[in-house]
Symmetry: C2
Subunit: 392 residues, 2 copies
């Protein structure tokens, strides 16, 4: 459907094969017109249905559905599950209630970021990490081996689909009734949609009103998909790819491109607060406390520039240049329809990290002059996604 030539230039064919895990919604995404896929956690992730600008406005004005079954669910359960999960992250989970969730940073011994899942405390002594694109379940498994902790780790059938946008709650109300209005931001609960068992969390990758519906029976993918679209009738519901412009406006990071094991949360504008002071030990604590005391020498920050709308996202990192030498790299670049300028993120030396510094960038489309900026670009306090779902 009218893929942009600038996007297709940096593309190739991908063959489907049994070496990719298959989403329960895969056939539905094909029928819905998905023409491009990424691979994420060994599974195909829809990457193109329609023009990104069209999909952006559908999210902001109506409601969109994404197959994100790629967010592989790792369950850690057992008597010592609370302790193991808390050891794996720089966040303090001791106050995380049952049915509450957290944005989690999985930390390496050196403080590096190994994954940034949504963590759901689904039951007493039972946690779900819904992973970004790395096999952090293997890290948990390894860490458990010689820990003497009484835990079990496996991969339950739980396949998320995001329902996000201005009218998301109305869709969910039609699916599970007004109980949806009791679900607080970043909390979760179990429901049935018809006779399909699901867990619903008020989370997502858009930082607008939205939900993730976890399908708990992998054979019911088509049924859930059809039920959601039936509930969205008249509300402009449509299937979309992840909406990068909104993701970047919101200061949300993409693991493997914006940040990797080489980086700690202290290096990322907006994530510093996730290194939480706590009496208990966790993996990477010594390294992170040391780094916090010393300070970081580089940072991932926002960038922005006026001018023509970018025709495509970057296909590879763009170097940031000073005096002819690379001093950093751009990791994201996209046109923001609401801000009416191009925005993105870049790694820069710490002395250039404050907003308002000018940077020279060698983009795929020629040289660019950009300016550093604070992130999130819009709604820095996440008031939009956390707002009451319904005026009382």
């Amino acid at each position: 459907m009218n893929e942009r030539p600038a996007m297709l230039e940096q593309s190739a064919t991908i063959y489907f094969g049994p070496w990719y895990r298959r989403s329960p919604f895969f056939e539905a995404t094909r029928r819905a017109g998905c023409t491009a896929y990424d691979v994420y956690n060994h599974m195909l992730l829809p990457a193109y249905y329609d023009d990104p600008i069209t999909e952006y406005w559908a999210l902001l004005n109506d409601v969109v559905v994404w197959d994100v079954a790629v967010e592989r669910t790792v369950e850690i359960r057992g008597k010592d599950a609370d302790r193991l999960v808390d050891m794996l992250t720089c966040r303090d989970l001791t106050t995380c209630q049952v049915k509450q969730g957290k944005y989690m940073i999985v930390t390496a011994p050196d403080g590096g970021i190994l994954n940034d899942p949504v963590l759901l405390h689904v039951d007493r002594d039972r946690w779900w990490m819904q992973l970004a694109d790395s096999d952090a379940g293997l890290y948990a498994l390894g860490a458990a081996v010689s820990s003497n902790l009484d835990v079990e780790i496996d991969y339950p059938d739980a396949y998320p689909m995001q329902v996000q946008g201005a009218k998301a709650a109305r869709v969910l109300e039609r699916l599970v009734g007004p109980a949806i209005y009791d679900l607080k931001y970043y909390w979760c609960d179990r429901f049935e949609i018809g006779d399909i068992p699901v867990l619903i969390s008020r989370t997502g990758w858009t930082a607008v009103q939205g939900f993730e519906i976890d399908l708990l029976d992998p054979d019911r993918g088509d049924d859930l998909w059809d039920a959601v679209f039936a509930a969205g009738e008249g509300l402009g519901i449509r299937a979309t790819a992840p909406i990068e412009a909104r993701r970047i406006e919101a200061g949300i990071m993409n693991y493997n491109s914006d940040m990797t094991h080489e980086d700690t949360p202290l290096h990322i504008m907006g994530l510093e607060r996730l290194v939480e002071d706590q009496p208990q030990d966790y993996i990477g604590k010594a390294a992170l406390e040391d780094l916090k005391a010393r300070g970081v020498d580089r940072k991932l920050v926002g960038i922005q520039w006026a001018g023509e709308e970018l025709p495509a996202e970057l296909s590879w990192f763009w170097p940031v240049i000073r005096d002819g030498e690379p001093i950093g790299k751009v990791t994201d670049a996209v046109w923001s329809p609401r801000l009416e300028r191009n925005i993105g993120y870049a790694w820069v030396p710490i002395e250039l990290a404050a907003p308002g510094n000018r940077l020279d960038v060698e983009s795929e489309h020629g040289p660019l002059a950009v300016t550093t900026a604070a992130i999130p670009f819009i709604d820095p306090r996440k008031e939009v996604p956390a707002a009451p779902l319904k005026a009382d």
Copy 2:
């Protein structure tokens, strides 16, 4: 270049982006005409240059080059590196000499297969796992955390390229001199190609004569590529995708499709011997010894059938059916030009695992009757790849 319609039917577009790690040979593969890529260890893997049958004969008669930088290298080093690596696998590594390699199975606590890298003992107290498609480096990192072992784990710059085929040794001789003839099967050594530092191992995914050249300086990808092709002049050298027909003839397994964490080496025909008796402990030992005593209830075995050449590999597992019920699944299916029949692998109940049993399969192309077979289909003792490189 003449992609088969049956292959393209089960395909889509993939956009390049910085969320995929980039092979040092990526630009060279594009120039060489690669039109399709897989994603493997978060990196693009060439999947199509020319017809698979053409590439098969180029391997058997001449020499082919694959970019397999996707085989991500994890280095484990330090005083206790020998112990940690030996703990991670059911193989007994205590006799693995410096510069020797092993086909490794990384085992989970439950005996499941987490990865099947080529393991190279590159130096004293220094090992490289060159990974199949899972982040088993995170498993090693987790296992090290609470082990009290004195090790360091990271990802060195080491990007393999396979040079495989009947004339591979002649190419290598032109690159590094006659010293290549001293390299024993599954051993490795350091060389320079011009001024490019490399490590060369006599390993590969074809079980014919072949080598993997590890590029140790990521900025020299084009230089190494060009040097290899210059050395192959007159020998019919060409870049190819992985050659599945030869891989399957040889009984080589593909992680994530043929076998996963759900399976142990005792479940895979030909891998049982890798659960080696040893006095020392390793992760999964109790589970594997118990399973060995009890016996497995299902097995991955060979299958074969005559008739028309399959037009494409499978895009998803094909069910094996008995009395209308699924009892297993086909994981691979390909035309073998030398055997002049279709071959593959299937998971079957143990009572059907012996060669010669008839199975009913629901393929993407309609019902099939296949027969179980021993694997490897050709050269079960690996005499071809282990043969002297040069007649004395």
